[in-house]
Symmetry: D2
Subunit: 407 residues, 4 copies
C-alpha cells in the first residue's frame, strides 16, 4: 500500500479518536477530514467540531443519520427477526455499514484516498468497518491505528495526549471500568468488570434501562402499527422510523425491557462477554413477530426462520454489503408485502408480551368469511393427509423389521 495522503476519520470527539487524529497528522503525515455521525448515541456532537477545528482540521462533516439508520438498516434487519446466537439484536453490528458508507462517500467527495476507524484489533468492529470500506471502494486505503501503533496501554495514550495538548476529560485519565458503544438501537458494554462470566453484571453498567425491579408496578399497553413489515405508528400516531424507535426506547427503558447478558462468539475466533440494552428493539422484535403471526403464510414464515441464522451471522460478521446478504434481503422483503396491521403489547417490568394482533390482511379468520365450512376443511381429508404422509414411515418400518432393526 502506498502512503495515504488524505484520510477520512470516523471521529467521535473522544480521547481515543482525538489521539488518532493527531497521530494521523503527525506520524502518518496525512491531511485529516473528520466525520462525526449522529446515530442516536445521545452525545452532543458540537464538541467534536470544536476539537477537530482545534486540531487544524479543515473539512469537518457532522451528519444526522438517525432516520437513514433506522429506515435503511435497522428496519430491513428487523424484517428478518434477526437474532445472533439466539439472543443478540445486533445493535452494534448494524450501525457499522452506515458509518462506513458515509465515510466512503465523503472520501469521494473530498478526494481522500484513505479512511480510518478507531476499532481495536481484537474485536468485530474492525472487520465490519473494513469489509464495508472495501466492498464500497476496492481501492481505498484503510488505516487501523490500533493494529499498527505502539500506544497499546492507557499510560502511553495519556502520555501521547499530554505531549500533543489533546484535551483529556477528567474521567478518562484512569482506566475505564468497562467500554461502551451506543446508538439509537442499543448500548453495549464490555470489558473489565464484566470479564468474569460467572459474576453478575453490576447495576451501574446499565445506561438506558431501569432495572425491572425499579420499573413501574403497573403495566403499560401500547399498539404498534406496521406497513409492509415496518413499524409506522404507536398508538395510532404515525411517526418517522427514528421517532418510532426513540419512542419505543423510552417505553422500553422505563419498563426495564431489553437487557441482555451474553457470552458470544466473535467473528475473530474468541468468546467475549457483553451486556446489551436494546429497549426499543426488544419491543419491536416482539411486535414484528406478532404482526407476522397474523399476516404471514406458514411456508413463508418457516423459510424465514430457516434463513434467519445465516442472515444474522452475515450482519454480525460485517457482510452487509455482500451479494448473499442482498439475496436474503430480497427473499425477506418479498415476504413482507402484506405484513400490515397492528399489534398490542403489554410492557411490564422487563417483559414484553404480545396480547393482541389484527390486520386487514389477516390469514386467521379469513376462512369463516370466504368459505363454507365443509368446503374449506373436511375432517375426513385429515385422514388422507396422515395416511399419505405416513406411507414412507410405514414402508421404512416394514423394511427395518425385515432387516432386524427394531424397537
Amino acid at each position: 500500500m502506498s502512503k495515504p495522503k488524505k484520510v477520512v476519520l470516523a471521529y467521535s470527539g473522544g480521547l481515543d479518536t482525538s489521539i488518532i487524529l493527531k497521530w494521523l497528522q503527525e506520524e502518518k503525515g496525512c491531511e485529516v477530514v473528520t466525520f462525526t455521525a449522529d446515530l442516536g448515541q445521545g452525545e452532543e456532537l458540537e464538541p467534536a467540531r470544536r476539537k477537530a477545528e482545534a486540531a487544524g482540521v479543515k473539512e469537518i462533516f457532522i451528519d444526522d443519520l438517525r432516520e437513514e439508520f433506522v429506515r435503511d438498516f435497522v428496519f430491513p434487519m428487523f424484517r428478518a427477526n434477526a437474532l445472533y446466537e439466539g439472543l443478540y439484536l445486533l445493535g452494534t453490528s448494524i450501525a457499522r455499514p452506515l458509518i462506513s458508507k458515509r465515510q466512503i462517500e465523503i472520501a469521494h467527495q473530498v478526494g481522500a484516498d484513505a479512511v480510518c476507524h478507531g476499532a481495536t484489533g481484537k474485536g468485530n468492529d474492525q472487520v465490519r468497518f473494513e469489509l464495508a470500506y472495501y466492498a464500497l471502494d476496492p481501492e481505498i486505503k484503510v488505516i487501523a491505528p490500533w493494529r499498527e501503533w505502539d500506544l497499546n496501554s492507557r499510560n502511553k495514550l495519556i502520555e501521547y495526549a499530554e505531549k500533543h495538548d489533546i484535551e483529556i476529560a477528567k474521567d478518562k485519565r484512569g482506566e475505564a471500568p468497562f467500554s461502551v458503544d451506543a446508538n439509537l438501537l442499543h448500548t453495549s458494554s464490555e470489558g473489565k468488570v464484566l470479564e468474569d462470566p460467572y459474576q453478575e453484571a453490576p447495576e451501574f453498567i446499565y445506561q438506558r434501562t431501569v432495572s425491572p425491579e425499579d420499573a413501574p408496578d403497573k403495566a403499560t399497553f401500547i399498539e404498534v402499527g406496521f406497513e409492509r413489515g415496518d413499524a409506522v405508528s404507536i398508538d395510532g400516531v404515525d411517526m418517522s422510523p427514528a421517532t418510532i424507535l426513540t419512542k419505543l426506547n423510552e417505553l422500553g427503558g422505563a419498563n426495564g425491557i431489553g437487557r441482555l447478558d451474553l457470552l458470544e462468539n466473535r467473528y475473530v475466533g474468541m468468546k467475549s462477554r457483553g451486556v446489551y440494552e436494546t429497549p426499543g428493539g426488544t419491543i419491536l422484535l416482539m411486535a414484528h413477530r406478532g404482526i407476522e403471526q397474523i399476516t404471514m403464510d406458514k411456508g413463508a414464515s418457516h423459510l424465514k426462520d430457516e434463513l434467519m441464522p445465516k442472515y444474522a451471522e452475515l450482519i454480525y460478521n460485517g457482510y452487509w454489503y455482500s451479494p448473499e446478504r442482498e439475496m436474503l434481503q430480497a427473499a425477506i422483503d418479498k415476504s413482507q408485502e402484506l405484513v400490515t396491521g397492528s399489534v398490542r403489547l403489554k410492557l411490564y417490568k422487563g417483559n414484553v408480551d404480545i396480547v393482541g394482533r389484527k390486520s386487514p390482511y389477516s390469514l386467521y379468520s379469513q376462512e369463516h368469511v370466504t368459505f363454507e365450512e365443509d368446503d374449506v376443511y373436511d375432517q375426513a381429508d385429515a385422514g388422507g393427509f396422515i395416511k399419505i404422509n405416513a406411507l414412507r414411515l410405514r414402508l421404512l418400518k416394514a423394511r427395518d423389521r425385515k432387516a432386524g432393526k427394531n424397537i
Copy 2:
C-alpha cells in the same frame, strides 16, 4: 382396512375418552384395552382405572412415564434449543410420541390389532399420534373417532353419555370456555374465549403460573448444573430428570415465568391461537443456552442454530420417529459431549435472565491459561484476515463499477 378386533385406547378417564371407550365397544364391536399415562399432567389416575373397570375393560394399563418423558423426549429436544416459530417450546408436541410408543407396545403385548386416540380432526395431535403409530407399527389399525363419528356437538355427546350411563362431571355438561392439555412440560389452552386474536387472554386461562404482577417482589437466584447438555442439578443438589423439571416448574410458576400467547401455523394448514405455560421449560431453555455459551465452539453453535428450525418443525409436525429427526439428533447430541457446567439465573416477575456461567470445559478463559498472549492472538493477523475476506468483495465492486452498477 379390515374390521379391528381389539384396540388400545389412550384413555384419560375424562368424558370424551369415556364416550370413545363405549363407542368402540358398541359401534365398533371392539374389545377395548385402556392405557392411561402419567406424564405429569397433575390429575389423579385412579379414577381412570375405576371408570374403565366400570365399562367392563379387562386389561387396564396405568403407567408413570414421567422420568422417561423428561429423559428421553424433553431433554433431547432441549439440547437443540428447539423453538417452533421463534417462540413455542413444543410442550404438547413432544408428549405425543411417547404416548404413541407405549400404546403400540401395549398393543403388541396384549395382541391388539388397533389403537385409538381422542384428538380432533382439525388439530395437530391426530397427526402426531398417527404418524408415530404408523412409524412404529406399519400394520396397525388406527381409529380416530372424531373424524369418523357423528357426535360432533356437545349436545350429541352428552346425549350419548346419558344414554350409555357414562359419568358426566358437573362442569362438563356445558360447553367449556376453552380446552386444555397438560403434562410435566407445559399446559396449553385454546379455543372459545381465545378465538379473537386481538383480545387479550383472560387471566383465568392460566393454570400453573401466577401473573408477573402477582409474583414475588424479590428476585430468586438459582444455579442449574448440566452434564453433556442435560440438566442434572439445581443449586448443587442432584436430581432425576423429572424431579428437576418439576422443581423448575415450581420456581417458574411462582415467579410468573413461561407464559406465551401465540398465533401459530398448524401442520394441517390453518392458523390457531394458543396460550402456553411452560414455566420450567422456559428456565431450562435459558439455562441451556447459558451453558452452551461457555462450552460450545462457534462452528458447532452456529450449525445448531441453522438446523434448529427444521428440527422444531419436525417435532411440531409429528415426525419424532423419522430418519431425518434421528439424523439431526445425532448431530445435536454429538455437539453436547462437553456441555457440562453450571448456570446462574435470576428469576423475577416473568423474567428469566442468565447472570453467570462456569464450566470445567470453558472455552472462554482458556486462552489466558494455555497460550502466551502473543501466540494466541497477534493483532496484525486480523489485518490479513480482513484483507483476505474482503478480496472477493473488492473484485466484485471493481467488476460492478465497470458494469455501471454503482452506489
Copy 3:
C-alpha cells in the same frame, strides 16, 4: 362440494382424456370446455379439436404456450440450477403450474366452476395440478376422475370407450408397455417394463435421444450466450426462449445427451422408477453453471447451492405458486443481474462438458486489470487469515485436551 356445472378439462385428445370428457358429460352431468396446450410435446393438436367437437364440446381452447413455458417457468427454474435428488431436471414438474394457470384463466373466462385433470391417484401430478388450481382460485371445484371412478383397469376403459363410441387408436387397445409424458423440456417414461429397478431400461423406451453409442463419432462444439441468467443465443445467433430450447434439444438428442434412469421418492410417499430424456435441459444446466462460474461471487454462489435442494423440492412437490418458492425466486433472480456472457461446450456421445467461458462481467481476470498485484493480494495476509480462522480450533483443542478428549 356442491355439484359442478361447467368444467375446464385439460384435454390431450388421447384415449384417457377422451373417456374423461365423456364421463364428465354423462356421469357428472357437466358442460365440458376442453383446453389443449402446446408445450412442445410434439403431437398434433388439431385432432384434439376434432374429437372435442365430435363429443359436442362448444368451447374449445387450443393454445401454443411454448414461449411462455420456457420464458416464465423453465428459465427461472434453471437460474437456480435446480436438480431434484441430485439428478432430475424436473421436466414434468415444471409444466404443471402453467397448464393449471391457463385452465383457471379459461375457467374464469368461460364462467366454469370446476377444472379437471387426467392424472392418476398414485402420482405426483395430481398434487401439482391441484395445488396450483387451489392456489390460483381457492373456490374452484376440482375433479380428479382417477381417484373417483371405477374404470380402474384397461378392460373397463376400453369397454367404456366402445360403449360411448370413443375413438380408440390401434395401439391403445392393449396395455401400453410403459407410459409417457412429454413437453419441450423432457420426455419421461415409467411403468411396466421399467418396474424392476435392477433391470436396465430397454433401448426402445427412449423417444428423443439416440444412444451415446449411436451418436456421431466427432464432437460438436457450441457456444451458448446468456443475459441475466437466461440463455439468449446459440453460436452468436439470438433466439427466443422456446427456439433456444428446441435447438438445444436437437443438439442434445443427436449427441445422446440427457438420458437419466432414476429411482426417485414421490411426494406421495413411495419410490418410483422413471427414465427421463432432457437433452436440451442437460446442456442448458451445464452452460448456466459455466456462466455462473465466471460471473458470480462465491457468497452468492454458495448461498444458491444451499437453497437449491429446497427450491427443487418445492417445484417437484407442486408448490410453484407458494410464497416460499417466490421468496427463493426473488433471492435467485437477485443473483443473476450480471450473469451475462457466453459458454463454450463440447457435446460428445452423451457428454456435455464446459470447455470455455467468457463474460464482460468476468470476476476471474479482473484482478489483473484493476489492481496492483501487491494491493490486491499480499501473501502475508493469508497467514493472518489462517491464524484467525484457526483460533477457535486451537482453543477448542486446548480445552479438549484438558478434558481428556484427545487424538
Copy 4:
C-alpha cells in the same frame, strides 16, 4: 512465535520441497524430519528417502497411507455425496487432513516443535494444512516458506538449488506449463496453459484418463457392492477400500470418465481454473447415489441433500477437524446404516450411468411384499392429502384477492 528447533516437513522429494528442506536447515537453523506419504499419487517414494539422507536428515518417515486415506477420509466424504460448487469431487481437499494428522503425530513422536508444508501463499492448501495442524495441536509452530522467503521466481529457486547442490530433474529447469497434484482419488492440474478460462484445456494436461474419443467403443458394465454406505466389492469380489478405488480408477480412466474443467471460488477469495481427473471417484459417486436411491428414505435423503453443500464447503475450506464437520458426519453416518446392496453401472466413453440397483433392504418393492394394496395406499387418501396441503394456499389467495393482489 519463538524460533522453531525441530520441524517435520511434508516432503515429496521433488525440487521445491528439497529446497525447503535445505532452507529450513540453513536459514531457519532447524533440525528437519521428513515425512513422505504414499497416498496413491503414483510416484516412487524411495528417491525421497535417498535425497533426504543426502541432505543429512536423520529421521525419515515414509508411510503407505492409502488404506487409511480411502477408509477414513474418502469413504466418509462419499457417504455425503459431496460436491463443491456442484461439480468438484474434492480430491485435493480430502488428502490434506490426513497428511497434517500424520505430521502432527510424527512431531509428537520425535519431539519436534514445528511442522512445515510446501503450499503456496495464494492457494487453498496452505489453509487446509494449517487449520488441521492447529486443530490437532494448538501449540505447534507452523512454517510456510512460500509466504516467508524471497525465492519467489523459478530463477531464484534454481539458483538456490544450484548453490546448495540440490538435484534438479531435467524437466524442472524451465517453468512447468502447469502444476499437478495427485493422489488415489484424483489428479488436479492448474496454472499457465490453463489460465485463459475461455480456451479449452489441451489434451496433454490429462494424466490418468484417456479422452472419451479414445475410450473403447463398447460399454463396460460393472456391479459395485455396498455395506453401510461404503463400497466393498466390484463384480462380487470383495476388496479393501484402497483396492476398490484403485480398480475403479482403472475402469474409469480406461473409459474416459471423470474429467472436469472447473472455474472455482477459492477460500482465499479469488477464482481459479483447474482441471480435475477423478475417474474412480466419479463412478463411486454415481454408484453411491444408486444404492441410496433404493435403500434410503425420502426424509433422510432430502436432509442429506440440504446439508451437503455446507459439508462440501467445510472440507474444501479445510475444516475437516472441526466440530461442525463432525456433527454433519454424525448425521450422515446415521443415515447409512442400511445403505447396503449393489448397483449396476454402464461405463462408456466418459459416461457413467446407473442401469440397475438392488438391496436386501430395498424400500422400493417392499410395499408389494408386506401390505395388501388397499392397506398401503388408498387413492382417496391422496385427495385428503392435497386438500390439507392446499388449505394454506387457498386461505392465502382469498386474502390476497381481498387485498387487491391478484393474477
